[in-house]
């Protein structure tokens, strides 16, 4: 199949459509609005429904309804809009409903700005909503990967009956790159649990997230935990970049991973043995891979577009075995390759922070 | 002939049926049911017209009303 040039935000949409997503509920916010725009045009072509909700809260609850009704469904937002969805996300997780959420992260906190950022890492991976739950969080770092991971997100959501978040940022949402829309095929399992009227069923279906008796709720939480453990065992994804002989390991995801790659190349030109581990699943986090790397590496450098969030997961994985340094830009600023290289040189010489 | 039956164990003793019955034949029993309530009951079944007012009013679907089938 030949390549086409696509904007990241539109690539989310097209991949979703190819993966059999026929429903999109959303509310506009920069820098992700091209996704709803795309869906508004595209979904009617495939007999689907695009509906602009009155708010992000309504949107996530429409997603809840459509997911409960058995459909593949998507919503997207950024910054404040994602925060507003947190109650609904906790409900999706609590009701074990499959749905795909896109967060094209912008600079925070508060209204902040619309520039690219990675400062919603904690919210996405640790749980911005209440209760013990986890989202599967996928972090593409190119438009092609947006396509591939979006399709994967729907499959994971259905397989594990869990909401999945695609965590991008303003750069990824806004940039255009060539993509191949490989042969994404809707791979939708039967959903005998969906609420769609009892006709043809001997039992009625019920979807709720309440377990009013604490014993029951604990039991439910433990089944969630078991599911999460399984995801952790089976679904970790990451990329090794020039890791074979790396003595210094950068860890970065999404847009900042691209910059980190640039820095790896530049540093290698200068003779520094630098590699990159790029987490693709932020949750489950590739902790084992990092722990393994810690046995051979001399030090780690986390590169993030935030004040430093993923670095906690890196430190948890490395567990004190080797130093973990942090290089960040935040508030919508993007790291610059040569600055990263300077930081690497410092670390090689025994500095860093 | 009519018959009004109370699923006593479900009755919550709210007395709404007592007030709904035009015949004023529903009363609250002396004893307490499993839920801890005095259940409603009809003693003079013969006075019952089968109007089902009691049943329509009952919030807990305690009451069933039957009537002789007319030909």
């Amino acid at each position: 199949m030949s390549k086409i040039l696509m904007k990241g935000n539109e690539a989310f949409g097209e991949a979703a459509v190819l993966a059999g997503c026929k429903y999109f509920f959303g509310y506009p916010i920069t820098p992700q609005s091209e996704l709803p725009h795309y869906m508004a045009k595209r979904l009617p072509e495939v007999g689907g429904v695009f509906l602009q909700a009155e708010s992000e809260i309504a949107a996530i609850n429409m997603v809840y309804g459509a997911a409960g009704a058995g459909a593949r469904v998507m919503t997207s937002s950024s910054g404040p809009g994602i925060s507003l969805k947190m109650e609904g996300v906790s409900y999706l997780a609590g009701a074990e409903l499959p749905a795909v959420l896109v967060n094209v992260v912008r600079g925070g906190p508060g209204l902040g700005n619309i520039a690219p950022a990675q400062s919603d890492y904690f919210q996405a991976t640790k749980g911005g909503g209440h209760g013990d739950y986890r989202l599967i969080v996928l972090a593409p770092s190119s438009v092609q990967e947006i396509v591939d991971l979006t399709a994967k997100a729907f499959d994971l959501a259905d397989q594990y009956m869990n909401p999945v978040m695609l965590l991008a940022d303003g750069i990824l949402g806004q940039m255009m790159e060539p993509v191949e829309l490989k042969d994404i095929k809707p791979n939708i399992p039967a959903k005998p649990w969906a609420v769609n009227g009892m006709k043809g069923r001997a039992y009625r279906n019920l979807i709720v997230s309440v377990h009013i008796v604490a014993e029951d709720n604990e039991k439910f939480n433990l089944t969630l935990q078991a599911k999460y453990d399984k995801i952790f065992q089976n679904e970790v994804l990451y990329e090794n970049y020039k890791m074979d002989d790396a003595e210094f390991v950068m860890v970065a995801y999404g847009s900042s991973a691209r910059l980190a790659k640039g820095a790896v190349d530049k540093a290698r030109e200068k003779g520094l043995k630098v590699g990159l581990i790029r987490p693709i699943t932020l949750w489950p986090f590739p902790s084992e891979r990092l722990a393994e790397a810690a046995t051979t590496a001399k030090a780690f450098l986390t590169v993030e577009m935030s004040l430093g969030q993923m670095v906690e997961d890196v430190r948890l994985a490395v567990n004190g075995v080797k130093p973990v340094y942090l290089y960040t830009r935040t508030g919508g600023m993007v790291p610059v390759v040569k600055d990263i290289v300077v930081e690497l040189e410092k670390i090689v010489q025994g500095g860093g922070k | 002939m009519t018959k009004v039956t109370f699923r006593e164990e479900r009755c919550m003793g709210c007395e709404l049926c007592v007030h709904a019955c035009p015949q004023r034949i529903v009363t609250m029993a002396k004893h307490i049911n499993a839920g801890g309530f005095h259940p409603a009951t009809v003693v003079q079944q013969d006075k019952c017209t089968g109007c089902a007012m009691c049943a329509l009013m009952c919030p807990d679907v305690v009451i069933e009303v039957e009537r002789e089938e007319k030909q």
Binding site: E54, N61, A71, V195, M198 | M12, A55, P59, D60, V65
Partner: protein, 247 residues
């Protein structure tokens, strides 16, 4: 012997957990009767609220979905857009629909979602312990208006049905009560009509049902029905407020 009155088939056999004399139960029964009469038990999908009726799905024998507090109209929208030929209804308390869920019910109405919306107005937050609702009457005491609701502090009770009736998308809007048998019979007719409108895909159909909360009103069930009649109906007049031409 012919059954003049018995439990409708769409109701499960589980006893209600409501307080003695709470009229939520009556409304549940009416819904079940209507669903039986329209023979739509296999088509229907109920959306449960958060409020005293949070567990209502236990009492019905058909598909149910329970979402977040106040968001039932959005959840129903999601379901109905996926299954436009099924029958979807919401059941919301006055806290659920007229407070936290205001935006969702307004916009479901504006979009004219083809759902049936039941709005149970008991002028109080029942489940959480008798706090003031947007529908609490002036002067009415509650745990968050201990001296009685004052218009200076808390403003005026909302007539949600009248407000929503101003929207073109609301095709049917009516207010009924279940405080006595006569009104219960009337209420059922109106609820049935609201389901029939959905069957005909006309648009958003809303029925407000005045209901009692003996527990939080601090009254006996009988007193509560009287209080409803004497205090609520004058402020919340009964009747069909908006009827579609087509029906």
């Amino acid at each position: 012997m012919r059954k003049v009155f018995s439990k409708p088939a769409s109701l499960s056999d589980k006893p209600f957990h409501y307080c003695p004399g709470c009229t939520h139960g009556i409304i549940h029964r009416l819904i079940a009767e209507v669903i039986d009469e329209l023979n739509i038990k296999e088509e229907v999908i109920g959306i449960a609220p958060i409020g005293c009726a949070v567990f209502m799905y236990d009492y019905f024998d058909f598909d149910f979905l329970g979402g977040a507090h106040g968001r039932a109209p959005a959840v129903a929208t999601g379901v109905k857009r996926v299954h436009p030929d099924k029958m979807v209804f919401t059941y919301q308390g006055d806290g659920d629909a007229a407070a936290i869920g205001t935006a969702e019910i307004v916009h479901a109405a504006a979009r004219s979602e083809k759902i049936t919306s039941l709005f149970i107005n008991n002028a109080i937050y029942g489940m959480t312990g008798g706090q003031m609702a947007p529908t609490t009457l002036l002067g009415q005491e509650s745990t968050t208006s201990p001296e009685g609701r004052s218009k200076e502090m808390a403003g005026y009770p909302i007539r949600l049905t009248e407000m929503l009736a101003t929207l073109e998308g609301t095709v049917y809007a009516a207010r009924v009560s279940v405080h006595d048998v006569k009104h219960i019979i009337q209420a059922k007719k109106v609820i049935k009509r609201a389901f029939e409108i959905q069957q005909k895909k006309v648009g958003f159909a809303l029925v407000e049902v005045l209901s009692t909360c003996p527990t939080n009103w601090g009254l006996t069930p009988i007193e509560a029905t009287k209080w409803l009649e004497q205090n609520m109906i004058p402020y919340y007049p009964l009747g069909e407020i908006k009827v579609p031409k087509e029906v």
